[in-house]
Symmetry: C2
């Protein structure tokens, strides 16, 4: 019988009994031969099916303006699709460009252009600064961190909070240190915590003084419309906030339809000040004669308008919300009150972030792996995969079907309890 | 009545009469109100129509291996499509990757990675070399030259010849100069001359000694299967030649379906040594979770196999060959024997290169523009748009319909003759 009070209040005998109980549960798990995957934020086949009409679109190859989308040209992307997503993302169409299938590629391009050429507000190319640092809110998105690390930026971690990254800590860091060139941010439904950057935090980040005159906020709004409840949180309007604060070129906003239509065959977007968009397009144009406008037209026909995007997202929610509810149910039932883990209960996005007992996260991943459950490696949400407390785990329940989420989460809870019992009886 | 002997043999009176005659023809041209475009190598609507079946493909979202192409993943591209184009391009599938809609983007990526990280055979990132030069065969492709210039490479021009770039001149340049980091080459049906790099020239370039240990040949085989006759010239096998010469990492081969299916919505390819492909994919992966595999599957279904690609190209030829024949007919009839221009008669590709009297190319473009005919700017085929002799013009007859090619070329011939007469009577 499981205890209902915090494990650290148990006696040594009680802990030993608890550990034995969890070990027995884990042994049964091993014998059951599971093979499940909670690693990455991939949409499920059922979600992808929602967009299968794309496979038969477009019905024509000309857009409303008469552009033959099959041919070269149109670096900014198809106007009609830009108009739809300008409304969805609440930016001006003239400040938004539609690109290829990956917003991550656009982020890499922005950073590469800053390195090689400098930005509209740079004194020189960033590569000429021997020391370059970049603020990484933790826990955060591993691909962001890998990108800046590979490009030679030393990570500077700051904590993510319920209302966004710790803006006071960031403001203190950037005020006097010109080597800090920018920061990552997933503002709405952060990866992995699901937290939302508040208007107040966004305003602080937009207006703070920075020693680097060309400080950039890479505002990756990957989950802007990926609500899990009817709440439909609005993202802070970072472009307007920054412009109003006299730093119009500070933010670069990214978004995509990767988790709206097809993860690998969607359309990515970039928004920034007019001048910064022109700067981006100038360098984009040395290596492109235009994006895949046929795919953009395909998406334009599929959505119709901004309402069409939101209506489509409601269908995703209907599939995803029960999976996230199942994660909460199992964590609550199995771990509630035991004081061995705390976790987020996001109202949007693709992840649940769990902090287990310090020093046990990698053990949980190891136990799960042996039991056939693939989890994102412990520490993945930290630069260089290094979680100093070995405490954070990222759960991604979107890809498996609901029954698999149940089985996987039940197994993961067992692993968390066994790791905690091992730790407390050590 | 037009003369039939070289204009430079005419007397001053005869030239004056000839000039008057051409001026009258030009005045009639002005009055006729043409509006035609011979600027860029874009496929015509009729050519794009050949691939309209793509708009209703793919019929499924899984490839033969069962991969769900809609989701993330697969940085190398879809195996089935890689197999088809490995056969078309005569490389190993394992050495070929399929990417997005633009081979130019892949070229930019390769150069960017070389700058920021160095290649598999580099001692250090190229950006650390203050002086960097790049060999540009002229006339050549303006987008190539713009790319290396923007990335900080000083162009070193060498002449293009009927069998490819002047390999002896290149070998002499690169032997002792480590600042020369690489060269551009459109091997088969060069842009704009249409010339083909012979096996011998390719072998010299593959085997020559280079002071830079990491010298690269950017082998842009954009027109590999774009034959205008039944001759179907085979491209030299640069990867094998380089490997056999002990320089396996020297060439990087590029190709795409931009002028096979849809110019803006095709699939691009990169081929290199296995090690160099792995190098490319490593850095590609920091900014991509995979290419648009749905579009790759669309192309795979459309072609079926390598034979399907070649059969499809025969349909392009049927549309393009009459346009190129018309260019030759008019140039021969109007300019033949007058000694005021020489031009190429390509058996493939998208362009005709014309050398008019030195000092008159920009005048021809100006006259044509006033008469409503858009020509590629004089000098466009030279780095920085600078043709020292002001002699070269690039004609692109693919986009207009045949009747427009006739009208435009007749007008261009008049402009060439008037410019020559002006020059010779000056």
């Amino acid at each position: 019988m499981s205890p209902t009070r915090p494990l650290h209040e148990l006696s040594a005998d009680e802990i030993a009994a608890f550990r034995q109980e969890q070990q027995a549960a884990y042994d049964r798990l091993l014998a059951s031969g599971l093979k499940l995957d909670l690693t990455r934020g991939k949409p499920s086949a059922e979600q992808l099916d929602l967009s299968n009409a794309l496979l038969e679109l477009p019905t024509t190859y000309r857009d409303a303006a008469g552009t033959d989308t099959r041919n070269y040209g149109g670096l900014l992307g198809l106007t009609g699709l830009r108009e739809i997503f300008a409304e969805v993302l609440r930016v001006e169409t003239s400040q938004l460009i539609a690109g290829g299938n990956s917003s991550l590629t656009m982020m890499k391009d922005v950073l590469t252009y800053l390195l090689l050429f400098g930005g509209v507000d740079s004194a020189r190319p960033w590569i000429q600064d021997e020391q370059r640092r970049f603020i990484c809110p933790v826990p955060g998105y591993d691909r962001h961190f890998l990108l800046t690390e590979t490009l030679g930026f030393e990570p500077v971690t700051v904590p993510m909070r319920e209302d966004g990254p710790d803006a006071d800590a960031i403001a203190a860091l950037v005020a006097d240190d010109p080597t800090i060139k920018g920061m990552w941010l997933v503002p709405t439904y952060a990866n992995p915590s699901g937290d939302v950057c508040s208007q107040e935090v966004a305003a602080k980040l937009a207006s703070m003084s920075t020693a680097a005159p060309d400080f950039k906020i890479l505002w990756d709004n990957a989950y802007a419309v990926h609500h899990l409840t009817a709440q439909e949180t609005k993202s802070a309007d970072i472009l307007s906030l920054a412009a109003a604060s006299g730093h119009p070129h500070r933010p670069v906003l990214f978004a995509s339809t990767s988790k709206i239509t097809f993860a690998g065959a969607g359309v990515a977007f970039l928004a920034a000040s007019q001048e910064q968009v022109a700067w981006f397009v100038k360098y984009l144009g040395i290596g492109s004669i235009g994006p895949d406008k046929v795919n953009q037209l395909r998406h334009l026909e599929f959505f119709g308008d901004a309402e069409g995007v939101l209506a489509h997202m409601a269908k995703h929610r209907a599939i995803l919300a029960p999976k996230f509810a199942e994660v909460q149910r199992i964590l609550n039932e199995r771990l509630g009150g035991l004081g061995v883990a705390k976790w987020t209960d996001p109202v949007g996005g693709y992840f649940v972030s769990v902090d287990v007992l310090p020093g046990t996260a990698s053990r949980v991943v190891e136990l799960a792996k042996e039991a056939g459950i693939a989890l994102t490696p412990a520490g993945a949400a930290y630069p260089q995969g290094n979680d100093p407390d070995d405490t954070n785990l990222r759960l991604a329940p979107s890809f498996p079907v609901l029954e698999e989420v149940t089985a996987a989460m039940d197994a993961v809870a067992t692993c968390m309890l066994l790791a905690a019992a091992e730790k407390l009886s050590a």
